[in-house]
Symmetry: C2
Subunit: 477 residues, 2 copies
């Protein structure tokens, strides 16, 4: 499982200088150092681009299983909903663009095995049906996440996950060819909520089925309540606390059986969670950690020398409790990829960890959260208090102000900020970033209450909602 002695002749030490070639023990010169990247989306290409820019001698080869690289999976609901017309808009760079940066991207190439001793991967060309070996000096696993489809009948035509451009195109095609009128969405997380909006905007009847009592389990009930109200207001048939028994059909999907009831469906979208795409790592014996994600250190090294991992297949350090976590998000993947790439190129950078920031738009409602929710804090054994207020997005006298609900979580006694959740129709996403910044520095509610935040009637009331929430929290801690 550990690399051979020969490979230790070219260790990737943090301060290794970029080199154009390496000496073997026998004095012969190998070719340029080669980085193989498995997965050509956020983490993989961020790493490839950074590594190649810092070390222009590096031979960088990226293998991507799907037919697209450098795409934004977060944009898929907007492709389905027609907000974005052309799927090419989701593709930031093509293999041609990347070739100009010296990065060879092979689409529709699946890495099917890793031989750590020999330092090579087995690659299957999915178009040609052929396999070949590709040697590597450094290997980055950026295989991403896998959508869970844990229901009988999930393989029926008309049942979709939303992970790849192909998924998006398949849903578009199904919409256009089959003209479905009734959609069922299974799962009330980010993807499920965004798909509910997308399909309602296309005029479909939409049922949303969630196993848990509330949608969006990453926020507490007050905020989830706002989300649920937005769904209902926009005509979504919302069914919480409803387990799915099976997806039924004959030749294509016909029904989702949930809570003992059949819900007619000629289109089903499943978004019940993402797990690390770890089959390759597991087979190669690369140690796996939280929820099966590749164990990495702050430099994005796996436990195996010369093997790195970043993005939705890797662990993430949560700054608030310091423990490895699994929070698959595009921002994190990009940041981790950059760090991995820099270190592969010989720098010494570390990933700063996450504080659990995320945002989602649900019709006209904007929702954002960072840190620990009250439920998360309590289940982590932290004596947490929470303050919830509703305040205005602008000065009371300035037309168009909207209510914003702010929930702040803090540690009792110390007043340390633990997190915040906001919901409203404007001024939400970047307001939560103020709390994210505060969490990075370990600020307390007293600090937050003193923050010198912008005030101008069109942008905020003189006491920003965050300050009002901090003042409320001060009374409770």
């Amino acid at each position: 499982m550990l690399p051979s002695g020969a490979r230790t002749s070219a260790p990737c030490s943090p301060r290794a200088k970029p080199t154009g070639g390496r000496l073997r023990f026998d004095g012969s010169v190998l070719g340029p150092r080669r980085l193989v990247v498995v997965g050509g989306v956020a983490a993989g290409l961020s790493a490839a681009a950074r590594a190649r820019r810092l070390d222009p001698t590096l031979d960088v080869r990226v293998f991507e299983r799907t037919g697209f690289c450098a795409y934004s999976a977060c944009g898929l609901p907007y492709l389905v909903g027609g907000v974005i017309q052309d799927h090419k808009a989701l593709v930031a760079r093509t293999p041609g663009d990347l070739a100009k940066q010296g990065i060879a991207v092979h689409l529709r190439h699946e890495v099917v095995g890793v031989d750590l001793l020999a330092g090579r991967v087995r690659v299957r060309d999915l178009e040609a049906g052929r396999e070949r070996d590709e040697p590597f000096d450094e290997l980055l696993l950026a295989t991403g996440g896998r959508a869970a489809l844990p229901f009988p009948g999930a393989g029926l035509p008309g049942v979709f996950a939303v992970r790849t451009v192909e998924d998006g195109l398949a849903i578009r095609s199904w919409l256009s060819v089959r003209q479905p009128s009734k959609a069922v969405i299974v799962g009330g997380g980010y993807i499920g909520l965004e798909m509910a909006e997308a399909l309602r905007c296309l005029g479909l009847e939409v049922s949303l089925v969630e196993l848990l009592p509330r949608v969006l389990p990453l926020v507490d009930g007050e905020i989830a309540g706002d989300v649920e109200a937005a769904l209902v207001r926009h005509g979504v048939d919302l069914r919480c606390a409803t387990p799915v028994q099976e997806i039924a059909g004959n030749g294509r999907v016909r029904q989702v059986v949930a809570g003992g009831e059949g819900i007619d469906a000629d289109l089903v979208v499943v978004g019940v969670g993402v797990s690390p795409e770890n089959a390759l790592a597991a087979a190669a014996g690369v140690p796996l950690g939280v929820r099966g994600a590749v164990v990495v250190d702050a430099r994005l090294r796996s436990r195996v020398a010369h093997v790195w991992a970043a993005g939705d297949c890797a662990e993430t350090r949560h700054r608030l409790h310091g423990a490895p976590s699994y929070i698959p998000l595009g921002t994190t993947a990009n940041k981790q990829g950059r760090v991995a790439g820099a270190n592969i190129a010989g720098r010494d950078e570390s990933f700063g960890g996450v504080v659990g920031t995320a945002a989602v738009k649900v019709f006209d409602l904007h929702v954002a959260r960072t840190g620990l929710s009250e439920a998360e804090a309590l289940s982590a054994g932290i004596d947490a208090v929470a303050a919830t207020i509703v305040h205005r997005s602008r000065a009371a006298y300035y037309p168009g102000w909207q209510p914003i609900r702010v929930k702040i979580t803090a540690e009792r006694g110390t007043g340390r900020l633990l997190g915040a959740q906001l919901a409203g129709t404007e001024g939400v996403a970047k307001r939560v970033d103020v709390i994210a910044a505060a969490l990075h520095s370990g600020a307390g509610v007293d600090d937050l209450a003193r923050f010198d935040l912008t005030y101008a009637p069109p942008f905020a009331p003189v006491w920003d909602p965050l300050l009002m929430a901090a003042r409320q929290a001060q009374r409770l801690v």
Copy 2:
């Protein structure tokens, strides 16, 4: 100048308990402790409300020179421009509302003298034309700021400052009665820019005359350039580097003579800066500091026992350089007022200082700043570097994204963040608050580059503009 011996029998020590009465040396009981507040706007009423809430026995009397209390001066341009129809919308609370909280507000009452030895103020009832004495135990100076009108002819009818509700109503009246078609605005600061928008929106021809080479001196040239472009794009005749010689007219304003040229005007608005309204403090011998503002400590105590000051008449501590500053803004006034009120009621709170955050809307352009601009940092002797980038407000593929210019200032060598300035048509004001939060904790550009900020296609690109700017700054420090 110092209080008499008798007054020291009831010192306002930080831990003084709220009391319903005080013992004289001779054992007789005085009435309830009395707080006199000079000025009934942001700082004065914040203090009055907080003090009274914390000590319900306190006798609180507020004297306000104008006919309105608890009004938002920041809303005046929107009143003039018709965004707000009724000036009453700018008044958060009336004397009647405040009376229910146990606060006696006397409008059109000017405090014309302070006798510190006797512990009383001389109050002129501007309606009745009578004067009387009012004793105090604690005195809060919240006299606000005074608009500078440093030009010959500034007293002509048709020349206005924008400080009070009366100013706003006078401009409205002038607009309605005189139907002016040509306005000249003197001064390209916040008020000048907001008034330019207001008057253009009413259909007037507007010239804006600024003494300095650029508008909005609190931002650097790149951002000022965006503001100037917005002004010109919206039809403002912009004249920078143009000193005003005089305001001319006969019976009413006719011209502004600036840069040696006469600019026709039948309405002139002057917004060339605010200075502390310090006449009362100066006459009483209360020590004055930066730009004539009342010297205060973190608890908002002046140098004279039992005399407090807060808001636009008082100094402000700048967290970045620690020095007393004069930055008159409504948010600061409110925060200082709350702290002063708490301390007057016997608590021990301190004002956290400012980091120089401010925002302004100029037509469709949003501008926000915090910390030190590059020019400010350099003139403070700090070896500063600045990174300026333009990035998108949303994902590239998400419709409606707008460019945001971000300039970040940092200290060379240490990488310590010094400030940021943003300009764009969405997502500006609360993004700058992320930097304000970072400045409160003394973060560096490396910290900022790691911030876990929200990402969702409708709200931000995967690399937020702030992160892009941080990455650029990392290369320069």
